[in-house]
């Protein structure tokens, strides 16, 4: 039996500059932030980030890791616009490849099914075909003769998601309201598929943890490495394990205001080991509770 456990640094060691990396979650929900922080600390650069984006894209933009952003939206949910991505975009620092969020699903599904494209109406009439050079059009071979948008398969070099529980072989479950598109993200990469989880449990405990087998939606064929990291999605939400840390997210957003503020945030919360980060978060939360 293969034990696929690995550290955040072990994940980073398998990534290379210039790669296209898919990141799971949605907005500021269940993002693999401990691995994002490790990438932010690394020497990696020129990444193409594929994401239903939130602070994953924000942190990587603010630390200069992103060459190209491939995304249908970027939001911190409770803070509608992502200030670090805005700053990078408005300074013209990153390439921008816009998508519709449903169309995004088709690109991942096409890669997972190993077909070059999937057809859709989505995009017709909008500026997506003008602004996204990877989109093409396709004519139906059937009697309807309909002209549709051809959504190309996303070829991911790596995929990284955060789930609630996994066993050490990479079977995993989500415990919150929505899987989002994590299974497709992991299926759209041929290799370098990593998950971080709140807790590694014995395989026999997965169904009990999930309450039902219906939540066991990531299997070990889809996963090459498992990072066990309680709090690994912090400061995004990872319900029911924890809600979004809104106070922390506000300070993250405020750090976009000046280079000095960002330097301070970065020194405190990114250029530190993940163990130190989690320790400091624990202390901060104890302090917040005490001051209530």
């Amino acid at each position: 039996m293969t034990d696929k456990r690995i550290s955040e640094e072990g994940v980073v060691a398998q990534l290379e500059s210039g790669m296209t990396i898919g990141i799971g979650g949605w907005g500021s929900r269940r993002k693999p932030m401990s691995i994002i922080r490790a990438i932010a600390r690394s020497g990696l650069r020129d990444l193409t980030v594929v994401s239903f984006a939130g602070p994953d894209l924000g942190v990587l933009c603010a630390t200069g890791k992103v060459r190209r952003a491939v995304y249908p939206f970027v939001s911190l949910d409770s803070i509608p616009l992502e200030p670090h991505v805005r700053a990078a975009r408005q300074a013209g620092l990153i390439e921008d490849e816009p998508w519709d969020e449903g169309m995004f699903l088709l690109g991942l599904q096409a890669a997972a099914w190993r077909v070059p494209f999937l057809p859709t109406r989505v995009g017709l009439g909008s500026d997506l075909p003008r602004l996204n050079p990877r989109l093409s059009s396709v004519r139906s071979p059937f009697d309807d003769d309909l002209e549709l948008v051809a959504v190309p398969a996303f070829e991911l070099d790596a995929a990284i998601c955060h789930l609630n529980r996994a066993d050490l072989r990479g079977n995993a479950c989500f415990l919150g309201p929505d899987l989002y598109f994590d299974d497709l993200m992991l299926s759209a990469a041929r290799s370098r598929r990593f998950i971080s989880v709140e807790r590694v449990v014995p395989t026999a405990a997965l169904v009990e943890e999930a309450g039902t087998e219906l939540r066991l939606r990531v299997n070990r064929m889809m996963v090459d490495g498992v990072v066990e990291r309680p709090g690994g999605a912090h400061f995004t939400s990872c319900v029911p394990d924890y809600e979004r840390d809104e106070a922390f997210q506000r300070s993250y957003a405020a750090a976009a205001k000046t280079p000095e503020a960002w330097a301070e945030f970065r020194a405190s919360w990114i250029d530190v080991s993940e163990d130190d980060y989690q320790h400091k978060i624990g202390q901060r939360q104890v302090g917040e509770r005490a001051s209530l």
């Binding site: 249908p72 939206f73 975009r89 969020e101 009439g125």
Partner: protein, 252 residues
Amino acid sequence: MTDISRADICVVAIAECFRGDGEIVANPIGTIPMIGGRLARASFEPELMMTDGEAALIANDEAFRWPNGKVVEYYNPYRSMFDVVWRGRRHVIMGATQIDPFGNQNFAAIGPDYAKPKTQLLGFRGAPGNTVNNATSYWIPNHSPKVFVEKVDVVTGVGWDRAAAAGRGATEFFDLRLVVTNLAVLDFSGPDHRMALRSVHPGVSVEEVVAATGFELVVPADVPTSRQPTEEELRLITEVIDPDDLRHTEIP
């Protein structure tokens, strides 16, 4: 009877967007839209289905709090939502940072150069897919020439002219309906589906709406006044759907 506020008028105007929709997902996005959608369902459009903003369709009347718990009638994660949208069983009410005379919408980026925008916004979100697959209306709480522009910088949601130019794939299920603002209700009944004034809210003049619109609005000879809530509607809004008075945080 309680004083009727502008926000109450807007809630009713939003509710009216869903009249006749029947058994579809009503997906009004934002505070007043959500209250308006709930009002439609609690009164004249009882077959509507509505989300909790997360991954469930819920049957409760309340818009934001569920003091006695949610009554879930369907598990509807994001992936299922695309099944609903692409089958056309939905009427969405979106926002817009810019909207043009034919209803092309932008909430992705402001400025002439998309590669280096003056202001980066949300992105395309689901707007391209929504507008060519299901019924779409808009809610604009700040009717002004900065929002109502001759030409949007980026087309995220598709308008009537762009749909027609894109061909049958875009027009077959295209169903762009109404624009509700803090001043008025607009539709696309003008020549070539150009935006027209449908009603002005009580206390608002036609001139005010025209001045707040950055393009030539089609104005019929007689412009009616947006309707008032009934007493029962007002009771539903204030006692059941929005007892926390959140609608007045959006339109004071």
